[in-house]
Symmetry: C2
Subunit: 649 residues, 2 copies
């Protein structure tokens, strides 16, 4: 986005599990009132016969691996998983604050990607205090679901400890004892019996104990034949296990990963599969293709059995094979319905959040980060007094807010050497048009926009190109919409049968000369156009004198109140201003050497340009904002205007 759009182009959503459902009361719903538990979502889906899928990931090893995994969350989240889960490896400091810890990855999935998430937790060789501390931290971070596991003993000579955690059952009991009903608990099932269990029957009894201790659902170890799972379910039901049992699906993605997994899990690969794979073991593409086909066939049998409400995928942190299996099964949400025009955070505290300032439209994670300490959220309303303080700008620079591109790539996109302000105009223009720059590179992102242009913004492409070329450096925009169906693939959001609306919005940096002319022109557009114009020092010019928010996106739905999820809020604009100006420095200036002309050009823009936002209130008419800009240039081009301008300044 970037000259650009309000929509989180990843389209992340809890598809079909709108977290809006219970957010329309006048007082915030706090933790105590949680009505959107994972177990309840499962229950509803089972009752309506609506199959789901879930995705398992393991924590990454490096920070850049974490950045990649999180953008994978965004992409795979758009397909509509009911939940994702993150594994726990005691040797990897899984409960720490490191960017790569299980705890932080799961927290990011919940808070920033809006995904219902399950955090694994193993108890073997752990003290109760340590476990309780992990659980408290998880709760504080907004995690609501735990996969309770024993974990692998460290060393060969593991013996049961009295009063310690010897089995997952102990952990389940501990969670229920210390946290009552707060967490939804998942436990593991072994369709062929746990490798260390005395017998299959004995293992089944262990599973029954885990469920009886308070687990809410079961995810199974992977298996290779549908009948293995179906017999297991039958056996579970026979001994009185009634909770959902989700089959663990492992699409074979390569010969070596299969070998390794089989070794770790002590599973046997059936003869019929080995016979196909062995001959093609060096042909990755062929194996992947077979793996997809095999998984699809097995899943079809499982779903057809009527015993399987949802499928759990071991993704190995890859996306291609799993998505392809889900596509072929018809479970992947091709056109995810957005409950709101922005990605809803899955943190229980943020459930009531149903309005945000438009400014962070292209940086939603930054908005979530900077508002994470709020006690409650403007519940459909922004008033003068209702904007709590935003988190400090100085510490917002989290790893997942950094650009994903390395410095060299940024220089290639934004210019190894800038000649003048015009060079900057060119970068913005190339971002809009998607054309390659003189050095042959496409501008895929800008400091204010991590991703390529949103589909909605494409509607404005020609106009945006024209104005960027002349130094109206657009960083956010949306077209006016006068009642399109809520199912519209580009601008739609919210429940079926509704209508969505927008006021045209345009936000850009531009020179003080332009601003002088613009202010002259804007007099003609009162009260149709609202504006806020501010420079880095905070000099603020506006015609919104009451400091009231202006609703710029809203929806009307059957049997509901009006929802107005996006506003131009004068109070938060001053916080956004700091961030928007800082991005010139943090992301662009720092690419260049001290005292270099390129550096001085960006610094000059940072110091002297204004940040402008314009709203055309007359949403049923064609947007007048382009005419405003055109009038501004006409005034600048006329000799008389230059005189007037001179006499004003």
């Amino acid at each position: 986005v970037g000259g650009s759009s309000k929509s989180d182009s990843s389209g992340v959503s809890n598809s079909g599990e709108s977290s809006k459902e219970s957010s329309r009361c006048s007082t915030p719903v706090l933790d105590a009132d949680r009505t959107d538990r994972l177990r309840d979502k499962m229950k509803r889906r089972i009752e309506s016969g609506d199959h789901w899928f879930s995705l398992e990931f393991f924590p990454p090893r490096t920070a850049s691996g974490a950045v990649n995994l999180i953008s994978r969350f965004d992409r795979m989240g758009s397909g509509g998983p009911l939940f994702i889960d993150v594994t726990w490896h005691p040797s990897g400091d899984p409960g720490s604050d490191k960017e790569t810890s299980s705890m932080m990855i799961a927290s990011t999935a919940v808070n920033y990607c809006g995904l219902e998430s399950v955090l694994h937790l193993t108890c073997c060789n752990q003290t109760k205090e340590k476990i309780t501390a992990h659980l408290n931290k998880a709760k504080r971070l907004g995690l609501k679901n735990i996969m309770a596991l024993r974990g692998d003993p460290i060393g060969e000579d593991w013996v049961e400890e009295d009063g310690g955690f010897n089995y997952a059952t102990d952990l389940v009991k501990h969670i229920r004892c210390e946290f009552d009903d707060y967490f939804d608990i998942c436990v593991a099932g072994y369709p062929t019996g746990h490798p260390e269990a005395e017998s299959y029957d004995n293992d089944l009894r262990h599973l029954k104990e885990k469920v009886d201790a308070g687990a809410h659902f079961i995810v199974t170890q992977l298996f290779f034949r549908a009948e293995t799972f179906l017999r297991f379910v039958k056996d579970c039901r026979a001994i009185g296990i009634t909770c959902p049992i989700l089959p663990g699906i492992f699409p074979i993605q390569g010969y070596h990963s299969l070998r390794q997994l089989v070794k770790l899990s002590k599973l046997e690969v059936p003869e019929e599969i080995m016979q196909v794979i062995e001959p093609i073991k060096d042909n990755d593409a062929a194996i992947r293709s077979y793996g997809i086909q095999q998984a699809v066939e097995m899943c079809k049998v499982l779903l057809a059995s009527g015993e399987v409400p949802g499928l759990h995928f071991y993704t190995l942190n890859r996306e291609v094979a799993t998505i392809e299996v889900l596509r072929q099964l018809g479970l992947w949400a091709e056109d995810p319905r957005r409950p709101l025009p922005w990605a809803v955070s899955a943190h229980p505290k943020r459930k009531v959040e149903d309005v945000r300032p438009i400014f962070w439209a292209s940086r939603p994670k930054s908005y979530i980060y900077r508002t994470q300490d709020w006690d409650d959220f403007p519940n459909g309303r922004w008033g003068n007094s209702s904007s709590p303080a935003f988190g400090e700008l100085t510490d917002y620079y989290l790893f997942y807010l950094k650009s994903k591109s390395p410095k060299e790539a940024l220089l290639q996109m934004w210019g190894e050497e800038l000649m003048n302000e015009g060079s900057v105009y060119e970068v913005f223009t190339n971002y809009i048009t998607g054309q390659t720059n003189p050095s042959g590179h496409k501008v895929m992102c800008l400091p204010w926009n991590d991703d390529a242009l949103a589909p909605e913004t494409n509607l404005l492409k020609d106009e945006l190109e024209k104005v960027n070329r002349r130094g109206i450096l657009t960083i956010n925009s949306q077209p006016n919409i006068n009642g399109k169906p809520s199912s519209d693939p580009i601008v739609g959001w919210g429940p079926a049968g509704g209508y969505v609306f927008q006021k045209a919005y345009l936000e850009f940096f531009t020179s003080s000369e332009n601003v002088t002319a613009l202010l002259q022109v804007l007099k003609k557009y009162e009260p149709r156009v609202n504006y806020h114009i501010v420079n880095v020092q905070g000099k603020n010019i506006t015609n919104a004198h009451e400091m009231q928010p202006n609703a710029v996106t809203w929806g009307i739905f059957p049997g509901r109140e009006i929802i107005q999820p996006t506003v131009v809020d004068p109070v938060s604009f001053m916080y956004w201003k700091d961030e928007a100006f800082a991005l010139w420095i943090e992301q662009w200036v720092k690419l260049y050497e001290d005292e270099s002309p390129s550096r001085m050009i960006i610094q000059y823009i940072h110091d002297n340009y204004f940040l402008v936002n314009l709203v055309d209130n007359d949403f049923p008419l064609d947007s007048c904002l382009w005419q405003v800009i055109e009038d501004m240039f006409a005034l600048l081009d006329s000799p008389r205007a230059t005189q007037e301008e001179g006499s004003q300044s």
Copy 2:
């Protein structure tokens, strides 16, 4: 109104003084934050050079006089007075709870008619405790302004009391001392000097004392020559009185009332006026016409002087002459802008109120009465948990909620003798069409609608007539509106430059046979149409399963949040149901003798009919509600349907 409309047809509003201005915060603004003081309104109007008028009334002598006066408040309120004031007569028990007391009349003007009001208060021969009690009561009732007067001493032998209230100045000081800055205070000025003052200059000094003690503006005694007032203002300014001084205007309305007033106020009528009046003293029309002309001429001089920000009218509780003077001066708001589609109460506590259930659209005073004890109001939101309890139905039967028509008139309209349910259908139909009934009378009101059909409802007249004729007894309705300008004379409301929207709404009583067929038909209209169907026992059938409110009127305005002032709220519908059914009994059944057939017919309807409301959510399309009703009749008319119905019941 009666098959019928959501709008308070009186169009009462604080025209130009929208009480919406400061109501868009997320927390209710309580008394302490009052920003809409009368003094501030005056200041803004003076700054913008926008002349105002105000109206003085005296309390009525009888309950039926009170009912008439209050409907006069509604009518005269629509012309846009800045405030009204109510006089205080110590001999008339002015502070009591009687329907006719100054206190209750002023309270009604504030709370039910939405008028900024000034309560007079005299202090002569009163204890401080008594005065404080009056002021506390006034504050509790939502009154914010006091006209502080000495009042006439009782008996001839009045002497000053030490420590008592001897002058209005004492009262002003007492109010400021006991209530700090809470009340805005007005005092009286005498352009020719108070009749009991030692001298004109002495009286001016008294006035200065009153202002210095804390009064905010001055209203003068009546006078007959503009120069009298202008000299008075000049003299006031000369001794340092700087607050607004409003001339008291008395349009001569009759020979005898003029004589009486002159006697009471010890004023002299100028020779040139007496010369005109004496010869026509028996011709009321001629005198009134002269009085209007004389007042208009004088007011023109006053306004042209630049010394007069507003005109204060002594109405003598009549409306024709004052309205005519105001019309000729161009001060009467011919097309009052409604800040919201319903009349906003002027009680400071209700400032934040910006949403109401549609059900009381034709009975807004009843809604205000039944919600008067609420601590706060749903601030733009109705959620399951946010509807406080409604006041009891048993005590809602205030004098000003009773029908204004005497029993005989009601019988003439609603039928001396009813033959069957069809007779009732005819009454409803005649109300809609405006045609006379067989006994030659027009049906001007119904129990659910005090007034004639609203202009908006006229848009639906043909359809309403058709369905009422067949037993769909409509009591409330609104057409769908897809973005009409907020200035639209019929459906517009809110600030300039906005757009208003509505979902089509229809509410009616109908037989259980009809309801059975209707429910059958409504399946075809899911989820387009939301319905609530309930009988007097509270049997409730609905497809709005989440008990969420459905916004049915909303507006989009420049630089603002969305305003959604009218909702179909399932929770409050159950309170309205009790009221709606009770009106059959209270207002209609009671007209007839015990055991009479007429009585039994209405009682039967009360006991057996259902109250139905329908919302068509698809506001951009033509309303489908008429088609729903037509389908219902088609189903009832088909032989097969009758069988189905039989097998269902």
